[in-house]
């Protein structure tokens, strides 16, 4: 899995690794959180904060749930 660190953006913005659009993050974003790219719809996982690092979220696994 290739991750990208987005240095040039403000603290709460990063680029979508799928389509390149800017993804705006809530101020309280967390490592491990999943955010949607509002442009292409792909699910992205927050890999790091300060600065934010995003990558494609893992695919749904069979045993996920509650």
């Amino acid at each position: 899995m290739v991750s990208r660190q987005i240095d040039e953006h403000a603290m709460t913005e990063a680029d979508c690794v799928e389509c390149g659009a800017t993804v705006t993050l809530h101020d309280d974003y967390e490592i491990g959180e999943i955010v949607d790219c509002t442009t292409c719809g792909v699910e992205l996982e927050v890999l790091d904060t300060e600065p934010p690092v995003l990558d494609r979220a893992p695919e749904l696994e069979e045993d996920w749930g509650e």
Binding site: D27, D28, Y29, E30, I31, G32, E33, I34, E45, V46, L47, D48, T49, E50, A57, P58, E61, E62, D63, W64, G65, E66
Partner: protein
């Protein structure tokens, strides 16, 4: 209080809990189980090394910039920070130590397999973990849950288990149509099948037999409960109901994750009794008990051990994450009291032993050493 959070994905449920914990100035140690190894004997075995957990002690909120190069330090909010919320590698030994340093560990793993094993390791490291691996085992597998509920005398849908497509089809036919086939492990209503006739039953059973994993060859066949377009979710803490909601929809599956409409539900005495009994039957903890109304009674069809509560929190006035954190605080306090009592008892035993050695009079009153 220091809380370990086992996770692999931070859902809104976990964010609500993290916010509540941080608001109360509790330390949080996030442990991403995907990046953690759990060594047998890891707490003492320096050779059990691999990449480890991401650590977080309240280091991620806005403006909360920690100097990670300084190791243990104080960030701009004055909170203790043990290295920030990064993708830091950590050995299995370190992961064990991190968990052992927690007052309580909360399992919020998204994947059942990870939940089952990581809680088992936490228990092996002698760390108080909620929910317990035994509770997870009973809740994760529908066969185990059904057996447990039935053994406790709790009404639960009539169920037959078969291991072969032919016998499964016989079981389906004996139920009549419609009936339901469910995967023994799974959530959010996935792979559930409502069988309306023999042709559909044959197809579903054949498909299940070819899915690959052995669990799909455990055919869990259940009566179709003709519920009134909704079911009831009750979140309980050690059996005590915190809040409840109905999940309504036109589809026969009314999971909130499938878009069911959620509304607050006031528990009647019977629903409360059953929620308590079901929670107790699987060992208590933080649970989501699901009931269906059957006209003159309820039937309990599921108990969830890593319960999602965001929909419930939106539907009711009760602050669910606050109630959970209240309960975690009581769990940690209880553990501390037990540890103190054990230490006191050990000290007393040692003193008594010494006294016996000294004068051989086991009945002599000995003042415990503080």
């Amino acid at each position: 209080m220091k809380v370990g959070l086992l996770y692999s994905r931070i859902r809104r449920d976990e964010k609500l809990l993290l916010a509540e914990l941080r608001d109360r100035d509790h330390e949080v140690e996030k442990v991403d189980v995907r990046k953690t190894t759990f060594g047998v004997g890891a707490a003492a075995d320096e050779a059990a090394v691999d990449v480890g957990a991401a650590a977080d002690v309240d280091g991620t909120s806005e403006g909360d910039v920690a100097d990670e190069s300084a190791g243990d330090d104080t960030d701009t909010d004055g909170d203790t920070d043990t290295g920030g919320d990064t993708d830091t590698a950590r050995t299995a030994t370190e992961a064990a130590e991190v968990l052992r340093d927690c007052d309580v560990v909360l399992d919020r793993c998204l994947a059942t397999s990870r939940s089952l094993y990581s809680t088992r390791f936490a228990e092996a490291y002698d760390v108080p973990v909620v929910n317990s691996p035994e509770t997870a085992r009973l809740c994760a597998d529908k066969v185990e849950t059904s057996l447990t509920l039935a053994a406790a005398g709790i009404p639960t849908p009539e169920t037959t288990v078969a291991f072969d497509t032919d016998t499964a089809l016989e079981a389906v036919e004996s139920f009549g149509y419609p009936c339901v086939v469910k995967p023994v492990i799974g959530s959010w209503g996935r792979l559930m099948a409502k069988l309306e006739g023999r042709a559909a039953a044959e197809a579903v059973l054949e498909h299940k037999a070819t899915l690959g994993h052995y669990e799909h060859k455990v055919f869990y066949i259940q009566q179709f409960v003709d519920k009134p377009g909704r079911d009831v979710r009750v979140v309980t803490l050690d059996g005590e109901p915190v809040a409840a909601m109905t999940r309504s929809g036109d589809h026969w599956l009314t999971n909130a994750s499938r878009g069911a409409e959620t509304n607050a539900f006031e528990l009647d005495d019977r629903a409360e009794e059953l929620a308590r009994a079901a929670a107790d039957a699987v060992g208590g903890g933080l649970l989501g008990v699901d009931l269906m109304e059957t006209g003159d009674d309820y039937t309990v069809h599921e108990v969830n051990h890593t319960v999602e509560f965001k929909a419930l929190n939106d539907a009711v006035e009760t602050d669910v994450p606050a109630a959970v954190v209240d309960w975690l605080e009581s769990q940690a306090a209880e553990t501390e009291t037990e540890a103190d009592t054990e230490t006191e008892a050990d000290t007393e035993t040692e003193t008594n032993t010494e006294t016996e050695t000294d004068d051989g009079d086991s009945d002599e009153e000995v003042t415990p050493v503080a």
